[in-house]
Subunit: 210 residues, 2 copies
């Protein structure tokens, strides 16, 4: 068996040092640089730094929203499972509506996916919320449609849907017109719940070593 | 707003068709081809097909273990959250020991990470189990050390730890000497909980469309 590193603090420090050494981070404002580092750390891919789209004040908006007690609206249970609750500044609600009992019927009535139908149930909490989408392109598309139809704006949309149908397109739609919300999104097919969780955790983290 | 696809069955079909059109899958035995397709679907990266290491009977061993009621041992909550319980063939236990109360003290005593210490608590369930590691390289290294010290063998190790310190190395150690267990692993820095969950779900799925 080869020797390996076991000290958690040393592992964290070496991980973040590797990311900072290898990634091009100079185009990010400070709060978003921290988020970029954590996103890279979560997926093991240095090169995603070059594919992140964002509004310049996204990190500040997200931090302020969390400090003010905003809920975090997630498109799937995996995103919620990855959010480190003890770091949230105001005991913020982490909500997933995908498995609410009314969602299958709602999806059928609306002629869309369960992930998109679940977004309908965010209506009472969307104003000023932090949205974290780590799975379903249709959830992001559906949210943008609701914003076009007059829904209150979330403070921040973290757009990390993944896959081959609609992921790249939904994130391009968000980046092309964020409908007045702040946003961070990974362009292209890549994404996932670990990145969406990491983006939330980056907003809540005080120090990079923790 | 651009038009987008909303029909879940059509989205699944087009997704899997895209993966099968773009990925090189000819080197995989049938059960592992299905798993490779689902892994690619989960991460949006066609090219991971070329970085998967595996033992030829891994899929059959995993399916048989699940059918026989084997537990699924996960290194973190996100992996467990991504496993579609209703598809499991025998109401299989999905266990995560990372947040067990004794783990922090155990990690301190052993001089390792909490993720590695949590593996100690798998001892009574490891024989014939399906192991799904989607986060921590130290969990995979620790498991291999325990196997070297005489632990009973799991039926299958799904190795998808991610990151910059130990991820590539732990998966190379597994692929180089799987200690008599069947295995699937993604070489290199990439990995993650969504892939580990997808690998489990591939074992439990009957049809690709579902």
């Amino acid at each position: 068996m080869r020797p390996y590193k076991k000290d958690p603090a040393a592992i964290y420090a070496e991980s973040f040092a590797t990311v900072r050494r290898e990634a091009r981070l100079d185009r990010f404002p400070p709060g978003l640089e921290t988020m970029a580092v954590r996103l890279i750390h979560a997926c093991g891919m240095i090169e995603i730094a070059d594919r992140l789209a964002f509004s310049p004040d996204a990190a500040e908006a997200g931090r302020a929203a969390l400090a003010a007690g905003a809920p975090i609206l997630c498109d799937c249970e995996m995103v919620a499972a990855g959010i480190i609750r003890r770091r949230l500044p105001a005991g913020n609600e982490v909500a997933v509506t995908l498995n609410a009992p009314e969602v299958p019927d709602l999806a059928r009535d609306l002629g869309t996916t369960r992930s998109a139908a679940a977004v309908e149930l965010w209506h009472d909490r969307i104003d000023g919320a932090v949205v974290a989408i780590g799975n379903a392109p249709t959830a992001l598309f559906h949210l943008l449609e609701k914003l076009d139809r007059g829904w209150p704006r979330p403070a921040l949309i973290l757009g990390f849907p993944v896959g081959f149908v609609g992921a790249a397109e939904s994130k391009a739609e968000l980046a092309g017109d964020p409908r007045g919300a702040e946003f961070v999104a990974l362009r292209g097919r890549r994404g996932g719940s670990a990145m969406a969780s990491a983006a939330v955790n980056a907003l809540a983290a005080v120090e990079e070593s923790a």
